[in-house]
């Protein structure tokens, strides 16, 4: 019962044959060899598999591959085309990267948050980060990194004007 789906990943058009059982995470990791999104829980709790689907942060371990037709996907690889961006740099500098397994998901999540809501309050940032589990940091450095990233993005925007 295979089916062909067409969608865009990191700006490149993809056409993939699927059996029907796959989730977006399976397609990315197993069919497209994009291993930046991580598999941590399989029930949408840890957030390590977060990618961007049509501008929204989505837990790819829950997103059925069947619904991919015509979508525009951005993964951590797509966000890192020029090395580290402001969010990644801020997280690194704040000590928020320890084992690093949750990091790609958090970078992706924050990227969507600050695109949609550049002036997110600390409460809103916390609310967003509460969709991600991290066992290493105790979250202090992640929150700090997110706030530094927000400021960096704001400064970058101001200097562009």
């Amino acid at each position: 019962m295979s089916e062909r789906i067409n969608f865009t990943v990191n700006g490149v058009k993809k056409s993939v044959e699927i059996d029907g059982w796959e989730k977006l995470l399976d397609v990315l990791r197993e069919y497209l060899n994009l291993t930046g999104a991580k598999r941590g829980c399989d029930d949408g709790t840890c957030g390590a598999c977060t990618v961007i689907v049509n501008g929204e942060a989505v837990k790819s371990c829950l997103f059925p591959a069947k619904k991919l037709e015509g979508t525009d996907i951005v993964t951590i690889e797509g966000l890192s085309k020029e090395g580290t961006n402001h969010i990644q740099r801020a997280l690194i500098d704040s000590g928020a990267v320890q084992c690093g397994f949750c990091t790609p998901g958090i970078v992706t999540e924050l990227s969507v948050l600050f695109t949609k809501n550049p002036e997110a309050t600390e409460e809103q940032i916390k609310e967003t980060l509460s969709k991600h589990l991290c066992r290493c940091t105790g979250y202090e450095s992640i929150l700090e990194g997110a706030k530094v990233a927000q400021k960096k993005l704001e400064d970058a925007k101001t200097s562009q004007k």
Binding site: T35, G83, Q88, G95, Q98, F101, K126, S130, G138, Y139
Partner: protein
């Protein structure tokens, strides 16, 4: 002590960028040619005889290459007790025991096929708690208990479910209790939990046509795996190659041998093909290692003036279906009575087989349980004696010349627990606490901590160091980076020792037993201390070799030379010098003839005089390497919900020497958070069939950012250590130790209720408050 150039400053982790952009390679990111995928069948009952296994339907399933059962499996394995099987042969002992496996061309096909295997079981009695398994009429979980090979110092009790009994005896405990004016006692329970790294366990095994075996694993113990697999398959150790890629968190349960033997057994049926198995989150809970499962009964006696005179404790440790990884944790749980000198002690521990997943290392390695008990008992004792609880502790603290329960004399270089306690006191107990209001009760709690390593007498860490042609240095060691940041420690310690900037030090990025120097295991918060010592020794040798080569160039004796990171020069006339870049491969004379040796060095570091325990008293020397600390917290309890909110959690550790302040704070803040999880949230629950009821992150809720303390305060004391590099000590596990007692002491302070079990969830607090109210009304 501001005379360090690179120690005590922030440097970026060498793995940070790769991790942040998603390019770090973890076990599940590895793809090998012709790779096959395994799925493992586990039983619906935690203790049962296998009557029959029918694989015929599974063999016909799509994409299946091979179906494997344990029927012909005669392998036993283990590092401390060889009581484990890669696949069950005639019975299953826990819910994650491998019964059969399918090897297929995809994970999906393997999973679909596994469902088609039919197994008939005959149910046996199931024991979840050591207290049930230890009963005289209990059915044996291991009929062969006592017959398995084990480390000589362990004492199994045959024909019982007791895999090990261990006692630590100091002085005369009964005499001590007679001298005591006050006694306190309690039974404390730290139930099963999971280390729950975000990356699950995974292994790839490949039996090559040339009879060599290659393994990739998410483990922190490549050497142990290499030796165990070699023994199992009758190969020289050198023919087994173990690779360790990036590890997505460990916190204990990726140590020892866990799933590697099972995946290797499965792969041995398809020689020539690599076979991968990555645990699903559910399998990570059910089929790897879990933590804790400890019940500890403790009694403490003190004189009226607060002097502690006697302690007795019994530890009942539900170590699960296999004791190999749990026995050491039981031992560690009776190796300490907190940072106190107590002249009379009788501490006894039982590792008891239960029908639960094997218990293994969990951050804190046994030490959190006695800390939980004694720090709660001291809080209760202070009330009985009418003393301030910090004062009570203060007169009993270990310090230079005093003796631990193990019999080690504490050195001045072990640090200062009193200073740590004073820091917490000043930060927490100076002003009055807020008064109860409409919404909240308020409380403050304290705990003091100590931890040494749990190793083995010959445990140590190797180092290979080479000077490159441009003056940069490559350091290769066997320590597993799990996120704790040891690569940064390697860079900074090497940089300081060799007087070159950290940017010129390359730290190894993966482990490979073909190339990595020997390391026992990266456990016990020992890398900075032992590994750092190895680096210092190697750096010394490297400089010695540079001086030797320079002596040919400068035509003088080596002892007349000094080294500054860039040049080796004549001490009496620094203008007479040679650049290190000119002597990296020996010294080349004008006509090309080269003398001297390549500048490279090897070394290894271990702790001094680490011994096996005395068979009579259980006492011995664990290397006298300790980190002391004190922790405290301010909490409020929401009246309506019973929820505990931590306003400020304070930790002060005598770290010896701060190497990287950002990483150090990260270890402490993260460790405290893990302790909060165990104290207020986490518990693995089992039904009567031994099935885990909450093997998913959606139901095994470890803390999210919303559960984080409003503030964490971290204060360092720096009493230089005698072994660690530049005086630095280990810190990885220590931050979890005092969290449960500090919070439970604060809960008492807030509502006047003593809790003895964790986790203290809001419903338990609400219930306690209602009971208290009812009691008050009745009076």
């Amino acid at each position: 002590m501001g005379d360090f150039k690179y120690i005590g400053k922030y440097y970026e982790r060498p793995d940070a960028v790769k991790k942040a952009i998603g390019k770090a390679i973890f076990i599940d990111d590895i793809r090998l040619p012709e790779m096959l995928f395994a799925e493992i069948l586990t039983p619906p009952l935690a203790h049962a005889r296998i009557v029959s296994v029918d694989t015929s339907e599974a063999e016909k399933s799509k994409g299946v290459v091979k179906v494997v059962t344990g029927a012909q499996c005669n392998i036993t394995f283990g590092d401390c007790v060889r009581d484990r099987y890669p696949m069950a042969k005639d019975k299953v002992r826990y819910i994650g025991d491998p019964v059969a496996a399918v090897i297929a061309d995809s994970v999906y096909n393997a999973r679909e096929a596994v469902k088609k295997i039919k197994v008939e079981y005959e149910k046996l009695p199931i024991y979840i708690d050591a207290l049930d398994a230890i009963k005289e009429d209990a059915v044996l979980i291991h009929e062969k208990n006592g017959e398995y090979w084990h480390v000589p110092s362990y004492q199994p009790i045959p024909k019982t479910n007791i895999a090990m009994r261990y006692a630590l005896i100091k002085g005369d405990v009964e005499k001590g209790f007679k001298e005591a004016d006050e006694l306190v006692e309690g039974e404390f329970v730290y139930p099963f939990g999971s280390s729950s790294a975000i990356e699950t366990h995974g292994t790839i095994a490949w039996f090559h046509e040339d009879k060599t075996i290659e393994i990739w694993s998410s483990s922190i113990c490549p050497t142990i795996i290499q030796e165990d697999i070699a023994r199992t398959y009758g190969r020289p150790v050198s023919d087994v190659r173990v690779h360790i890629p990036e590890i997505g968190g460990c916190f204990g349960y990726k140590s020892d041998v866990t799933i590697e033997q099972t995946v290797a057994y499965i792969a041995s049926f398809v020689p020539g093909k690599p076979v991968k198995w990555i645990a699903s989150r559910e399998q990570d809970f059910t089929s790897t290692l879990i933590g804790h499962g400890v019940r500890i009964r403790m009694k403490l006696g003190a004189k009226r003036n607060g002097k502690l005179v006697a302690i007795k404790s019994t530890v009942y440790h539900s170590v699960g279906a296999y004791a190999d990884t749990g026995v050491n944790v039981t031992q560690a749980a009776i190796h300490t009575v907190g940072p106190y000198e107590i002249p009379n002690a009788h501490l006894e521990g039982f590792s008891v087989y239960t029908n639960t997943p094997p218990v293994g290392a969990y951050r804190g390695y046994g030490y959190q349980y006695p800390h939980f008990a004694i720090e709660r008992l001291l809080n209760m004792l202070a009330r009985k004696l009418g003393m301030d609880e910090l004062e009570l502790r203060s007169i009993n603290y270990l310090s230079a010349g005093k003796e631990t329960v193990l019999g080690e004399k504490i050195w001045k270089t072990n640090g200062d627990v009193k200073k740590c306690a004073d820091n917490v006191k000043e930060a927490l107990f100076t002003g009055p606490k807020p008064k109860e209001d409409d919404k909240y009760y308020y409380g403050r709690g304290f705990a003091a901590v100590i931890k040494g390593p749990k190793g083995t007498p010959n445990s140590g860490k190797g180092c290979y160091m080479k000077l490159n042609i441009d003056g940069s240095v490559t350091v290769i060691m066997g320590g597993a980076e799990v996120g704790q940041g040891l690569r940064t420690v390697v860079r900074q310690v090497t940089a300081e020792a060799l007087k070159i900037p950290p940017e010129k030090v390359r730290a190894y990025m993966e482990l490979d037993t073909d190339f990595s120097p020997w390391e026992w295991q990266t456990i016990g918060s020992m890398f900075t201390t032992q590994g750092g010592r190895a680096i210092m020794l190697a750096a010394d040798r490297l400089i010695k070799q540079m001086k030797k080569n320079a002596s040919y160039a400068l035509k003088c004796d080596e002892d007349m030379l000094d080294y500054d990171g860039e040049f080796v020069y004549l001490r009496s006339d620094p203008s007479v010098r040679v650049a290190v870049t000119d002597i990296a491969r020996g010294y080349m004379t004008e006509n090309g003839i080269t003398v001297g040796e390549v500048v490279q060095a090897t070394s290894a570091g271990r702790l001094p005089r680490y011994s096996s325990p005395d068979p009579e008293t259980g006492r011995g020397n664990l290397g006298v390497n300790y980190t002391f600390g004190a922790q405290g917290c301010e909490i409020k309890i929401e009246k309506e919900t019973g929820k505990v909110i931590i306003d400020n959690f304070i930790s002060s550790f005598d770290i010896g020497r701060v190497i990287n302040p950002v990483q150090l704070r990260g270890q402490i803040v993260g460790g405290v958070m893990m302790g909060i999880g165990a104290t207020l949230h986490e518990q693995l629950k089992f039904d009567e069939n031994g099935k885990i009821l909450n093997p998913h992150f959606s139901v095994y809720r470890f803390p999210t950012i919303k559960d984080a303390p409003t503030k964490q305060t971290v204060i360092y004391v720096e009493t230089p250590d005698g072994v660690g590099p530049f005086g630095a000590r280990g810190i990885g596990e220590h931050p979890v130790l005092g969290v449960a007692p500090a919070i439970l002491n604060a809960i008492y302070d807030a509502i006047g209720v003593d809790f003895f079990y964790v986790p203290v969830t809001p419903d338990k607090i609400k219930k306690a408050l209602e009971e208290k109210k009812a009691k008050e009304v009745a009076q």
